[in-house]
Amino acid sequence: MKPTTQLSYLVAVIACSLLLGGCGGSGDEVTESVPEQIYPDYTDVTALGGDTTTFDASTSGHGFSTPAPNLNAPGLAQHLAGDVNFETAFTTAPNSEHPDLDGLGPVFNNADCNSCHQRDGRNSTPIVPVGKARIKLGSDAGIFLRISKAPNQPCVTGTAANNYCAPIPVPNFGGQLFHRGVLKARADWEQNLFGGQADVYLSYETKVVSYPDGSQVTLKKPLFAVENPFDAPGETKQSSNLTSNLLQDDVLMGWRNGMPVFGLGLLEAIPEADILALVDENDTNGDKISGRANYVFDAVKAQKGDTHPVSLGRFGWKANTPSVRVQSLGALRGDIGITNPLFPDESIAGTSMHDSYLTRTGFVDSGSDEHGAPEASAAFSDDVVFYAETLAVPARRNSGNADVREGARLFELVNCSGCHQPRFVTKSTGEIGGKPMAEALKGQTIYPFSDMLLHDMGDELADGRPDFLANGNEWRTRPLWGIGLTKTVNPQAGFLHDGRAATIEEAILWHGGEAQTSTDKFMALSVTERTQLIDFVMSL
């Protein structure tokens, strides 16, 4: 991935050794040399988000939920307004008591942002109770399925004719499976109260991984089953003569978890050239790590009339959205069903389900109110985007600990940093998401530990779904900042795109493909060294 190593190393003698060296007292000449270690220059950095770093909430469950401390007064006011919007729960339209809160769905995955980004972090990993084989996803699930049709051949160059290599929607369904609905969303609502496009069930399978030293870890992987689609009630994959569009063999599906939403404005403010400088598609440096850029449809550019509305993908598990604005407002319209100025049409507009819903109920839920305006106003939308752009990055914990420092050295030795690129400097001018960038985000030296690029992570992690230029095995490198607070923020949170890893160790062990060499090196470490490396990651 990195053509040449760009890290400058700080040669440091262990501080404690120096100090203790001064304690001798006897005056004897000590000739035994103290071994020197080379620590990467990020070893002792604490302010991972530059001036946007919070030190007031960096050890507790509030660590992802604090406004950037360097916001000016108007910025803070807008951030706090967006905070309220982020937690706003929407209801079925029309709601005469709360008309400002109606418009939910009619099919959706959750009723508010917070349910998929609990306390601004990851959602809870669903629990299958003891004695049950599977659970049906309901109101407490923050996970959902992305769906698309398998392309006949890989899409390599995005054009208007091929919709810029966007995933091919499942006819009459779309690109995301909405497993929930308002009361009468389905034509057969009396048999499926609050039913969505289909019922989704989750179960787990497990496997055991053994280290060379004999120790073992049990890994679990969530599986899905989709049943009872609205276009063929009662059908399952095992039904004969399948008629549902959703259950056809060429429909691809993959789990998606909610991601933490802090520090996002900083990631968008990384100069594009600095990300592209890390691309090594043909692995010219022979480290078995490539790193590819995704180029995706940009709704902001399209709305402004750009004739080639394509941008570098930065957000989403496959870097399939270009900006916090597109990501956030796309989720507002998709996950919740609240149309907004960037996405004014319901995500299921034009499907038979939506047509039937409007006909049956006469409800005003075509995505616009009686004046033709989207369900969320421009101010509401701008504020919630700004909120996600300006959440503080939590400071590190335990950064001076000797084991943590040693872990930083091992992190480099194992080449985790081959993809988890430590450092960037954000741009000092320009826009993000087509709007002026907050002053607080400009010119910050940040340590996200992500190269923002796509990598083949192996078959075990693959969902097989291409997404713009990302193939079915590729995922964007997850930033590691704040990752040690994950369980503090949400004790039930998991790691990776489907929450399958309950711990950092499990997440590492799932790394395959381009990361396989690093995983092998990690597994070859002693248990003490593995713990040190994990301690370092937990300190981020």
């Binding site: 100090l19 029309p94 709601n95 306390r119 049906k136 109260l193 914990r397 040690g484 503090t488 004790p491």
Partner: protein, 382 residues
């Protein structure tokens, strides 16, 4: 931050050099710079976990069971007395829940219990349709439905009516379907409050995970990936207090209060059907007092955050105690001399003056917690 960094380095040097002494005769003498203070938090954290948080969730679970039983009685024997008994059981369950909002972290969030129990707004349109078209409600089915037709406020609507003219309901106005659905909701409520209580004392995920209370009481031990230090736990508690004071002052009260009597919006009032709003708000701040003082109202003195603050600044400790009490007093005073409910007070000229005093008191308290208490964490020589 420069000062903190300097102090931290100084302390590290002192600690390291102290380890060189050899004789051990001076081990008890640790030089602490002037801007730092010492406090051993173990007893405080244990007490707050056991006697405030866990005790509160235990009370909630017991009252959840009592509420379920009251609804069973109401279904079996519909009468005005049994309806009032169910209303009282709802209010009784509301108290520990609202007090617990001062520490709304951990399983109450990760297990999705907060939205299941306390979602707002209520979806009366869907609720009425469900009641008109469905029968034979069972708890497991209801759990799969949307949160805006279950939980506290749906039960409140069924028990008290729409709350516009009054907060009473005649048993003759309550249909059999409403009673059945209420009982189903109460069973769901009972189940979730039991799960919440167990998550702190048995297992945080209901499976192999440790009790959340054990994770809180043992920060920084090997394998505890939830809390890396006692600082984290105290930071959690302090920020929890700040969060609810902010929510009550700037959300629950300020949102419906609006900027003028004309913009006041009763539809935004919490617990508007039962007219329990002021009790909710004061219970929220009593919850803050519980964490700060370390004991529930009326119980013997135990260690709380006040002891932590005292170790750094006894004057500040006393001031915050007074500000918490004043906030509770001002919230209760909104009712005036004629027991005016909050939804009426925001539409009343004199009532609005009293509401403003409560907002001001909460603002004062919030400022002290944010600007004076929270920074103590950086001066704590833990």
């Amino acid at each position: 931050m420069k000062q903190l960094t300097y102090s931290a380095i100084a302390l590290a040097l002192i600690s390291t050099l102290a380890a060189c002494g050899g004789s051990g005769s001076d081990d008890s003498t640790v030089v602490v710079p002037d801007n730092r203070f010492s406090f051993v938090a173990t007893e405080m954290i244990t007490n707050l976990n056991d006697e405030v948080i866990v005790s509160g969730y235990s009370a909630l679970a017991n009252r959840g069971e009592a509420l379920y039983q009251a609804t069973q009685t109401l279904v079996a024997s519909p009468s005005q007395a049994n309806l009032v008994a169910a209303q009282d059981a709802w209010k009784a369950a509301r108290q520990p829940w609202e007090q617990g909002e001062s520490h709304i972290f951990g399983p109450v969030d990760s297990l999705g219990i907060d939205p299941h129990l306390d979602s707002w707004p209520l979806n009366t349109t869907d609720l009425k349709t469900v009641l008109a078209t469905t029968s034979g409600f069972d708890a497991e089915t209801i759990k799969g439905w949307n949160d805006d037709v279950q939980g506290f406020h749906t039960m409140e609507f069924l028990l008290f009516g729409d709350g516009i003219a009054d907060n009473s309901k005649d048993i003759g106005q309550m249909t059999a379907s409403e009673r059945d659905y209420l009982m189903g909701l109460a069973e769901v409520f009972r189940d979730y409050t039991k799960i919440l209580a167990d998550s702190w004392t048995v297992s945080h995920d209901g499976q192999t995970g440790l009790a959340y209370g054990e994770l809180v009481k043992n920060p920084g031990v090997a394998g505890n990936t939830f809390y890396s230090s006692q600082v984290g736990v105290v930071e959690e508690l302090v920020n929890g207090m700040i969060g609810i004071v902010d929510e009550v002052g700037n959300g629950k009260i300020a949102d419906p209060f609006g900027t003028s009597i004309d913009t006041a919006d009763t539809s935004k009032v919490e617990s508007q059907y039962s007219w329990n709003s002021l009790t909710d708000f004061s219970d929220n701040i009593i919850g803050v007092r519980n964490i700060y003082q370390g004991e529930l109202t009326g119980e013997a003195d135990k260690q709380g955050l006040v002891d932590f603050v005292k170790a750094a600044d006894s004057v500040l400790a006393t001031r915050i105690s007074s500000e918490i009490d004043d906030a509770i007093i001002q919230i209760r005073a909104i009712a005036g001399t004629n027991n005016m409910p909050f939804r009426q007070a925001i539409k009343d000229t004199e009532g609005r003056e009293r509401v403003q005093k409560a907002i001001d008191a909460l603002s004062t308290l919030q400022a002290s917690l944010e600007n004076d208490l929270l920074p103590l964490l950086k001066k704590w020589a833990v």
